[in-house]
Symmetry: C2
Subunit: 207 residues, 2 copies
DNA sequence: GCGATTTTCTAGTGCCCGCTATAGAATTCA
DNA sequence: TGAATTCTATAGCGGGCACTAGAAAATCGC
């Protein structure tokens, strides 16, 4: 139908029985559950328990497990992964941006207020559903590509030496971030991860 | 029974129908499968297909899925993870050992002759069986602890400066190794990983 | 109140999971 | 040869998986 309305601009008064749960807080609980256990190891029963709703409500509000996870990834990036893009928007140099990103990652990845590490890094490793694994793989690749273009700009502007290897610095930064995520899930403290971040910055050209 | 014989020193002529497959090559196929897909995403059906045997043969020869995985981890470490311990045994300094380990990891993790990355790093992330996840977590921790004690020895001997942070250098090295494993699984080439390893070594004290 | 509409609850569906009972096949010892 | 022993193949066990049919419940416009 062309006359369909999206959920966003639907009038406040809708017909039929109103939904008995808040969609957004239910989504937040889904984020936490996938974040903690990963896509494959999280069952729909785990989700309905955490979200406090029955299976039919979940399927009506979010579609199947796969599309719920897609939405979870988008919301996770907006709610918990924004520190990285913010660092790149607000810092003046690629080096300062990466340093800030790694240092804030040390804090975020060990925040006791939510599961440890990064959902995009860890939630779909060894996933029996290849499309889900591939989706997060692509997101990780996009992040590293963003690092690289930012570093390349600083090489072009002379902020970084002309012989700096932008591709390698970007991949190295991504690898350290991923290592920090696993270290966080393995129990490392914020201070320990901050020292890892500090060491990683020594790899940058000491202009 | 006290008179039982272990499989190792059992006489060559044993009674009963002989096993129709080679236990060691079957184990190798199990290693490859768990390495590729991880513990949880690998079904017993996947294993029997890869190993070329029926379920009863698998259970008779290796016990259940869990104990097969335990054996796989031990054999994986011996067959594919030995480059790390070898570097630490043969190199004269902690720094040279870590450098060699990281550079050889770049080669091993991208070897086209077997699955990418490191089984101990990636095969039990997001695992619904907590004991399996914990077992590999412990192994990773032991590796980093081994790095640390080796670095600490070089600090004590004066090979490294007295203010070098052994604990941080060890954790950093482990994080880079873990990041390289994920990068390898995400498609990075050997050369790309070698540049990551090269950058990581710049974090060491430039005595 | 009444029909229309939407959500919720209960109770499943079929499928694949790890695992095994049973029967038959292949070997050794006497 | 025959008994004992050990392995293999088939077939299926109970259980949890993602997912849904169907009826009851809660709101709407009128």
């Amino acid at each position: 139908m062309v006359t369909e309305q999206s959920a966003a601009d639907r009038p406040t008064k809708q017909r039929g029985r109103p939904r008995s749960f808040d969609r957004d807080t239910a989504l937040e609980q889904a984020i936490r559950t996938f974040w903690e256990r990963g896509y494959e190891a999280t069952s729909v029963a785990d989700l309905t328990r955490a979200m406090g709703i029955g299976p039919p409500s979940l399927y009506a509000a979010f579609g199947d497990k796969r599309s719920l996870f897609d939405e979870v990834v988008v919301e996770y990036a907006a709610r918990y992964g924004s520190f990285s893009t913010r660092a790149f928007e607000q810092e003046l140099t690629a080096r300062a941006a990466v340093e800030r990103m790694l240092r804030e990652a040390a804090t975020e990845y060990t925040d006791p207020g939510h599961p440890r590490g990064c959902l995009i890094i860890s939630a779909a490793t060894n996933c029996a559903t290849p499309e889900v694994e591939e989706a997060l793989r692509v997101k990780r690749g996009q992040n590293i590509a963003a690092f690289e273009s930012r570093i390349r700009a600083d090489v072009a502007s002379g902020e970084l030496p002309a012989d700096a290897d932008a591709e390698a610095l970007a991949r190295f930064s991504g690898a350290v971030l991923q290592g920090m995520s696993q270290q966080a899930r393995d129990g490392a403290s914020r201070e320990e991860l901050e020292r890892v971040a500090g060491l990683a910055m020594l790899a940058w050209p000491q202009a």
